[in-house]
């Protein structure tokens, strides 16, 4: 089941990757920067949000007008800022969703990597409310819908005794205070928690990518700007609580579940959200990890040079004071709770060189399950079986698609945990001892390393930009970094091998490592593909941000909203205590009358044209069953003339009503008829 889901996810990511491949250099493919792109979009949201804040008026009547002013009067600044604010937050959801899908389908969320996944889930719970409180603040008809539905959702929770939704049924009951509270949450409260949450999210990984590459930042910003100019964001008419908007352009990125509140019920929606959240939070343990043995330090070969600490992508290696009495100051220590056994530390260790034959090849740090010694032995075995001309050795990550595909071609393949597990001296060894004429490093597609930084470190080591680097004397044209080639998805391994084989035979004295790219294709197709890719992002962002529209009421319908709080009568009457009864009580508790506080439930019945459309018995609130009962219900009816009957009993009688009223109403289309109870006059009000 899990494998199936991951396979589906992977094919989605692969397809997207292939779609984007013509437009971007492999290191720039946006799929490799989904997390940092999300953060970048949030930066855009923050900056544009500050501009909006300056002009925003946090009051019932001022909110809408101030946003209208921003949108129309300062069209080319405020208007763009507003559009940017919306579209960047929408785009953040796209990248966030893809980010999750990718980490899930590439299985990068279990074992010791659970922490980032686990701390990432609550971030969604912060981001989504940030989105809908934002829509709320605009106070247009969409905001009205958001307000009412959010309130219905919150009312379902057993925290509030009184109905919050009632506030959004009529203008009279709405106060500016509410906007101040919302503005606080949207502008300060949630953003601060979000920043803290993001910090926690990347806390356990070393050198987290907070910013995407600059080219990508410029590209996405231009893309969002273009979208804001071509398709600016507008409000959808001022909120009018006396009317139900007919249909709304809903931002599906943030409000996806809102229509379900009407379609089913708040309880169903909460169940759905809670279920998904629990499932996501528990995902790293469904099933629990298959933990490989963590890296082990061998002090006889460790002098404390710290290179493993530099390269560990998960901060799992740290330096500690020397413990074996040697004159060194430090030694490497592995935290088994953080180590995910990628072996990148082995690739960084200067003593992990295969030229060591006098002593056993035991590096300062090594993987017990796939040691450097075992790698050297396998290298020799594989080398003996190499055929073809030139003899190309393939190195691929264990269990990867690349490994599977290359195995099918029958070529000699050395499986490693990660490309960066292989120290550059191994490549020197393989080539100088003529174990192979060329080595093709088939790392993770697009350089998107399963262990985050493996392909990056490998590229830098081979290009001699990072220690330990490939010795100058080694001809690095004989080493192919396959993930930087156009065919790095390994769909066609034979073609990749051919291309590499030819490049070895053709140009024996080139200097740069082979990237196997074809320049002609790049020059003509790239700009077009780039525009198309960003266009696609703009299109998806803009379209789903307010379409397809959501039909709230069918034509010719109106709504009756029943909303009031009323305390039922006492269950028992007060009675005066007799002297006997008083004597039995402790002296300090001898009250002359005893008034039990429990109340009757309030029963409500709504009939339209004689037909019962709503009937319920509402229990009193409060710990002692002595509070008010709260009624909130919306009913859809056809527009036109109706006989509306409302009855309520609060005395425990089984028939008839304590208060009842019937009126003739002529409901106009989309009218929102509010039925309330005035406790003073004991009469129902129809507004």
């Amino acid at each position: 089941m899990l494998t199936l889901l991951q396979t589906i996810g992977r094919s989605v990511i692969d397809t997207l990757g292939r779609l984007l491949a013509p437009a971007f250099e492999p290191p720039l493919i946006p799929l490799r920067h989904l997390g940092s792109l999300t953060i970048f979009f949030l930066w855009i949201v923050l900056v544009s949000g500050i501009w909006l804040l300056i002009f925003f008026d946090t009051s019932v009547h001022g909110a809408y007008l101030s946003v209208e002013y921003l949108t129309h009067e300062q069209r080319y600044l405020g208007g763009i800022m507003r559009s940017l604010h919306r579209y960047a937050s929408d785009a953040a959801i796209i990248t966030l969703a893809l980010h999750m899908l990718k980490e899930f389908s590439l299985d990068r969320y279990r074992d010791n990597r659970w922490f980032s996944w686990f701390t990432g889930v609550p971030l969604i719970w912060l981001l989504i409310p940030l989105g809908f409180t934002g829509y709320w603040l605009v106070w247009d008809s969409l905001a009205q819908y958001v307000a009412l539905t959010s309130a219905e959702l919150l009312d379902w929770l057993p925290f509030f005794t009184d109905s919050m939704a009632r506030n959004f049924l009529s203008e009279a009951s709405l106060s500016d205070r509410f906007f101040t509270l919302l503005a606080f949450l949207h502008l300060i409260g949630m953003p601060i928690i979000l920043v803290f949450g993001i910090w926690l999210h990347v806390f356990r990984i070393s050198g987290p990518a907070i910013n995407p590459p600059r080219k990508l930042m410029v590209g996405t910003l231009l893309c969002m700007l273009a979208l804001s100019l071509i398709y600016p964001a507008y409000s959808q008419g001022p909120a009018n609580l006396a009317q139900v908007p007919e249909s709304l352009g809903i931002d599906w990125y943030y409000l996806l579940v809102y229509p379900l509140v009407q379609l089913y019920s708040p309880g169903v929606v909460w169940g759905l959200l809670g279920g998904i959240t629990v499932l996501l939070l528990a995902a790293p343990w469904l099933p629990p990890a298959r933990r490989a043995a963590p890296a082990v330090v061998n002090l006889d070969n460790c002098n404390g040079c710290e290179r493993c600490v530099d390269d560990c992508p998960f901060d799992a290696v740290a330096m500690a004071p020397r413990s074996d009495g040697k004159a060194y100051e430090l030694e490497a220590v592995v935290d088994p709770e953080l180590c995910i056994s990628c072996g990148i530390c082995v690739g960084a260790c200067p003593t992990a060189t295969p030229f060591r034959t006098r002593s056993a090849l035991v590096p300062g740090i090594d993987l017990p399950d796939l040691s450097a010694l075992a790698l050297r032995e396998t290298l020799h075995t594989v080398s003996q079986g190499l055929t073809g001309s030139p003899r190309v050795l393939v190195m691929a990550c264990q269990g990867s698609d690349a490994a599977k595909r290359f195995k099918l071609t029958g070529t000699g393949i050395l499986e490693v945990q990660c490309m960066a597990q292989v120290p550059p001296s191994f490549l020197d060894y393989a080539l100088s001892r003529d174990l192979a004429a060329g080595v093709l490093l088939a790392g993770c597609p697009g350089g998107d390393c399963r262990y985050r930084l493996g392909s990056q470190w490998t590229s830098q080591r081979i290009q001699r930009q990072r220690d330990p680097h490939l010795r100058q004397r080694v001809d690095n044209t004989r080493i192919a970094l396959a993930w930087e080639s156009p065919w790095s998805d390994y769909q066609d391994p034979v073609r990749l091998l051919d291309a590499f084989g030819r490049s070895i035979s053709d140009s024996p004295d080139g200097k740069a490592p082979k990237t196997l790219a074809s320049p002609i294709r790049r020059r003509f197709i790239r700009p077009l593909a780039l525009v198309a890719s960003y266009g696609l992002l703009a299109l998806v962002t803009g379209w789903l941000s307010n379409s397809p529209p959501y039909q709230l009421l069918n034509p010719g319908q109106a709504m009756i909203a029943l909303s009031f709080s009323h305390a039922g009568q006492r269950l028992h009457e007060c009675h005066t205590l007799t002297q006997d009864e008083l004597d039995k009580l402790p002296p300090n508790m001898r009250a002359l009358t005893d008034c039990p506080r429990e109340r009757h439930p309030v029963q409500v019945e709504l009939r339209v044209d004689g037909e019962v459309v709503y009937q319920d018995s509402l229990l009193p609130s409060g710990l002692w069953d002595d509070g008010e009962s709260s009624i909130y219900q919306r009913v859809t009816v056809s527009a036109g003339k109706h006989r509306v009957f409302i009855g309520m009993r609060d005395s425990g009688r089984t028939e008839g009503f304590d208060i009842q009223q019937e009126v003739q109403m002529d409901l106009s289309e989309r009218q929102n008829l509010l039925v309330e109870l005035d406790d003073l006059t004991q009469r129902f009000l129809f507004r």
């Binding site: 034959t357 006098r358 100088s432």
Partner: protein, 131 residues
């Protein structure tokens, strides 16, 4: 045969680096003895692999110490390290290809390498790191 002798003036002021310098000198002296007496070039080649690993590790540590001390000449010093490692690797290959020639080359180079590097680069390091 004792090619090199550790002297207090070689100290760079970092205990671990000094300790490794002494160990390397022991190793090189041992190698020199081996080349003198041995007819087995295999043994020498094996030893070179060992030396290469030890020196790589040592340079990594020394470069780290220099980086931590913000040593100004780190870049030049590192370049010399890299050149030395390149030479040792060439020597190792030479031993595989033509043992006799390799042996001759090695004898000429041994003192040069370390005498030179110690006298110039590590001497400048003296006292620059710590103490």
């Amino acid at each position: 045969m004792t090619l090199l002798n550790w002297q207090a003036k070689y100290s760079v002021g970092v205990a671990s680096v000094d300790y490794e310098h002494q160990r390397l000198i022991e190793m090189i002296n041992e190698l020199a003895t081996e080349i003198e007496g041995s007819v087995y070039t295999d043994a020498i080649e094996l030893f070179l692999g060992e030396l290469h690993a030890a020196i790589s590790a040592h340079f990594a540590l020394e470069e780290r110490a220099m980086a931590k001390a913000d040593y100004e000449e780190l870049e030049d010093h590192k370049a010399d390290h890299e050149a030395l490692l390149e030479q040792i690797r060439c020597m190792m290959d030479e031993f595989v290809a033509d043992p006799e020639n390799g042996r001759k080359l090695l004898q000429e180079s041994l003192t040069n390498w370390f005498g030179q590097h110690f006298a110039t680069f590590d001497a400048r390091l003296h006292g620059a790191l710590g103490e």
